[in-house]
Symmetry: C2
């Protein structure tokens, strides 16, 4: 299975349009050692012909255009993109669905709660009604495996909330709000995609230990990172992201996974690991981690 990281940044990408943090300022002035990041997005294919997406980022138009494997292969309207699996309902995870509205049939997989949060009271999604059956949206239960043509996937329920903008989120099942996604290839190797990871339970640690590749929430280096640019901002753990560093960070919590390829993704523009000359970047590399970048290729 080929896996392509189309985007490795957190919401807003790097640099972020209205951010003057140290990373963004230095990047724009050409003084930054590290690359720009579009918003987190994965694509994968078992045969190189049919491709599936993990989430649908607001940058999807550019991400598709910069990936020849995802281009049309014939005259007329066509695309090798078959479907999308969603890990949550945040705007950054699903807005890209609206960019795929040009008369192309698409399979979408999510929990029932995520589907309801995104589409209840959302007139934008009525745009898909002009073509019968354009979106075939299948709701799946966290925990159970779902086989598609050439691979299977499983959603892992994570502690987390529906977006505050959702209509009546209290009517939706809390265990369906945020998921990790496990993709199992035809050769029975598993990749875990956890762009929003609030904590690591012993069960989750066991699951991750059985994976060949884990793509883990690298949003923030530290708990207070956002407060440095926005005094009223919340801490990392308050918005569902375990920081990378510290005794309660993901680097320490996953230090036992020495047989697994560990990669940070969904990296916020403020995170010092984006700066390849930083001590923080060096620290994650020395701990055996990789830092995802746009265009990165993985194989399962």
């Amino acid at each position: 299975m080929r896996v392509r990281i189309l985007g490795s940044g957190a919401g807003g990408g790097f640099p972020q349009w209205n951010c003057g943090c140290s990373n963004c300022r230095r990047y724009r002035s050409g003084l930054f050692r590290g690359s720009a990041r579009s918003q987190a997005q994965l694509a994968f294919s078992e045969d190189g012909e049919d491709w599936y997406l993990l989430n649908a980022s607001p940058d999807l138009r550019y991400q598709i255009e910069s990936t020849p494997e995802l281009h049309p292969r014939a005259p007329g309207r066509n695309s090798p993109i078959r479907g999308v699996i969603l890990s949550g309902a945040d705007v950054d995870l699903c807005l890209g669905l609206l960019l795929l509205r040009e008369w192309h049939r698409l399979e979408v997989y999510s929990t029932a709660g995520v589907r309801a949060a995104i589409t209840n009271g959302n007139c934008f999604f009525r745009v898909f009604e002009r073509m019968t059956g354009q979106l075939r949206w299948e709701c799946v239960e966290p925990g159970s495996a779902h086989s598609l043509d050439s691979f299977s996937f499983r959603l892992l329920s994570m502690p987390g909330k529906y977006p505050a903008w959702a209509i009546d989120p209290s009517d939706l099942r809390p265990d369906q709000a945020v998921s990790g996604i496990l993709i199992e290839s035809r050769s029975h190797q598993t990749l875990a995609f956890l762009p929003g990871l609030p904590c690591i339970s012993p069960d989750l640690l066991n699951v991750l230990a059985s994976c060949v590749i884990v793509l883990v929430d690298g949003t923030f280096w530290s708990e207070d990172e956002l407060i440095e640019i926005e005094p009223n901002a919340r801490r990392a753990s308050e918005i569902g992201h375990m920081p990378v560093s510290g005794p309660n960070g993901s680097m320490a919590a996953l230090s036992s996974l020495t047989g697994t390829r560990r990669i940070y993704i969904h990296i916020n523009n403020t995170n010092p690991i984006l700066d390849e000359s930083s001590s923080q970047h060096r620290a994650v590399r020395e701990a055996g981690w990789e830092v995802a970048y746009d265009g990165m290729e993985l194989a399962l």
Copy 2:
């Protein structure tokens, strides 16, 4: 006044993600003489400090990032973008508002009908409720002039429809669905922005004759252009776009405006004028027209 064309394409841009038309195929194979186009978007500023946008395209994150004038100028969260004037409610015209949701105050100007079409029953727009007064959305009446700090603008009512996905569009005033936008600079020079132009009345022709620059709907070269790639597609005039060519086209209808700088914008990926080696491109140039491109600078 400085005017920057951030995007010059129609909805979906050029190349379009799932399009295998002759233009898109040749562009991707490196055989096309002409540049890619992001979705139509303008920015303008009277003093080079405060900038306003005409519409808010889905490509806005990339368009801002590729325009140093629109970057933050200080540490912390900040942006020189003050406001947005909307010409209609189509997803391609307003989706970019959701990309500007990161804790930045914004003035939005549109007709009451366009505001209702976009925001009624649209849970995504509740994302702005987390910050009090983040969007100050002022509804303006077509025809009347509105003065802001350093310029004034006027919406011109065009024949046209609200998007089919809007909630109860029949409850909204039809004359508020689609507008042209006139921007008058401090030096009393006027630019017209007409990305959706279904027809040209004698009154409109008079208005345009008084403008220094007109940016005109260049979506389609011909009436049947879309049918060539999608057999079930509608004709240009059925979706509110006067074609460029032919006896009923905009090139003929505006041939008397010899004292006005005439520029085609909102150019669909299928339009042969994108190909600089085409006879159609030559024809518009010989008729005195320019073809907008991303990054084009204008002055008023």
